[in-house]
């Protein structure tokens, strides 16, 4: 039999191995109590949460940036549109009412045509009461232009020096398009006048309109009528804007299932701005 030292060495090795096995078993028990999978799952869960949070944060940042960018872009587009609007073709004319001591007095304004795009426009007369304003406007078209009194119409706006907006009325077709001229024109005009655009239409009139009343020699006489919601302010200056001249035919159907038929022809994009001094 081998000597004692060898036997003892082997025995020591066995005992060491046994102790190592006991330690290993202890670790395994610990892992059974706190299984690695559960710990891993917990870690993964935390990692997933972190990833989700990071993605959400990144997404939020992207959305914010996108939103800000879109907002900035929209703002820039609006400014470009407004600049183009300011550079539009327009003419201003000052008209002085000679005598308006009594309300309901009709004043012949006696002015010449203001010509743009070959079309002359002048205000012919003004009738002002506390509750009613009537303006007649004359339009003179070139000889070679084919005109139709029945379908002729235009947009107009009336306001005063106190920035009281009496009315803004689009040409009849302006509502028909997805982004009609009225939608863009109105905010630009508000800005030009210096009024905060409230995002909705708020005027002093209960009704407003325009229609042709006579035509001769390539001229059309139209009437603008405004009826006050309450009473009109005692304005000293009245501004009348006439724009978006065209011929529009709208076939309105009573049946809601039948789409309205519109036919539209622009005559001029120019604008006529008349300033009327009222004594």
């Amino acid at each position: 039999m081998e000597n004692e030292k060898e036997l003892l060495d082997k025995l020591k090795k066995r005992i060491a191995i046994s102790n190592f096995e006991a330690e290993y078993e202890q670790e395994q028990k610990h892992r059974r109590v706190f299984p690695k999978d559960i710990l891993e799952e917990g870690r993964k869960c935390i990692m997933n949460k972190r990833i989700i949070l990071n993605v959400a944060s990144a997404l939020a940042v992207v959305l914010v940036l996108f939103g800000v960018s879109a907002s900035i872009y929209a703002k820039m587009q609006w400014e470009i549109g407004f600049k183009e609007y300011q550079e539009r073709e327009y003419a201003t004319e000052l008209v002085t009412v000679k005598n308006a001591e009594e309300t309901g007095y009709t004043e012949n304004l006696e002015m010449d045509y203001v010509v743009q795009d070959g079309i002359g426009v002048k205000l012919n007369s003004l009738l002002m009461t506390d509750k009613y304003i009537e303006i007649t406007a004359d339009f003179k078209f070139p000889e070679d232009m084919e005109i139709n009194t029945e379908t002729f119409c235009f947009g107009f706006a009336v306001y005063d020096e106190e920035k009281n907006l009496y009315a803004v009325t689009p040409r009849m077709n302006a509502y028909s398009g997805p982004k009609g001229k009225f939608d863009t024109y109105t905010p630009y005009m508000y800005k030009e006048i210096g009024i905060d655009y409230p995002g909705y239409i708020s005027f002093l009139v209960s009704s407003s309109g325009q229609h042709a009343i006579s035509a001769e020699n390539h001229s059309i006489k139209s009437k603008i009528e405004l009826t006050a919601m309450d009473v009109f302010p005692e304005s000293k200056k009245l501004y009348v804007r006439i724009n978006d001249l065209g011929f529009t035919m709208v076939d309105v159907s009573c049946d809601p299932n039948v789409e309205n038929y519109t036919e539209d022809f622009d005559v001029s994009d120019a604008e006529w701005i008349f300033k009327i001094d009222i004594p």
């Binding site: 036997l7 191995i17 395994q28």
Partner: protein, 185 residues
């Protein structure tokens, strides 16, 4: 034999068994018992059983009655292991030499299974460098700290830790494989 009269308490230092003293006193006694029971056994078998006897005593050190005779206990264990090794009979508690002693027989089967593991681990340890193996034994047999081992082998604590880590990793792999295969069974 004079050693046979010694009580277990003579081989205990606190809760620890003084294995060197036990081997010194009972190596020949175990050899004799094995020879008397099985003359046909080879030296290798005798050595194996001898190691098993001392290992079994060490593993049951917590259960030993320090007032009882060590020789009776060793005799019983030896005979039981001889029987077990050759699977001649089932292990019973009716062993006259140590019928009065406390021996946890239920552990014998487990011990054998662990022995299979031990063989695998022992083979892996034999593949290691002598220094690595000695560090492992100092740590797991002698119970020395990393610092003490570093002093013995004249190396830094971190180096000792590193060596122990690598050895553990190799051995754990074996245990894991065996554990997985036994789970599969």
């Amino acid at each position: 034999m004079k050693e046979e009269d010694k009580k277990i308490s003579a081989y205990m230092c606190g809760n620890e068994l003084i294995i060197e003293k036990l081997v010194q006193d009972y190596k020949n006694y175990v050899y004799m018992i094995i020879r008397n029971n099985r003359n046909t056994l080879t030296e290798e078998d005798i050595e194996e059983i001898t190691l098993d006897v001392f290992t079994a005593v060490w593993k049951n050190r917590d259960k030993l009655d320090i007032n009882k005779s060590m020789s009776a206990y060793i005799s019983g264990i030896t005979r039981n292991l001889i029987k077990y090794k050759f699977r001649q009979t089932k292990i019973t508690a009716n062993i006259e030499d140590y019928s009065e002693q406390i021996v946890d027989l239920s552990d014998v089967e487990l011990t054998t299974i662990q022995n299979e593991q031990e063989v695998a681990i022992s083979r892996e340890l034999d593949k290691l460098k002598t220094e690595d193996r000695d560090i492992f034994i100092e740590y797991y047999y002698s119970g020395k700290s990393v610092k003490e081992i570093g002093i013995i082998f004249n190396m830094s604590e971190s180096k000792v830790k590193s060596k122990l880590f690598r050895v553990r990793k190799r051995l754990c792999k074996i245990l894991k494989e065996r554990g997985d295969s036994s789970d599969g069974e």
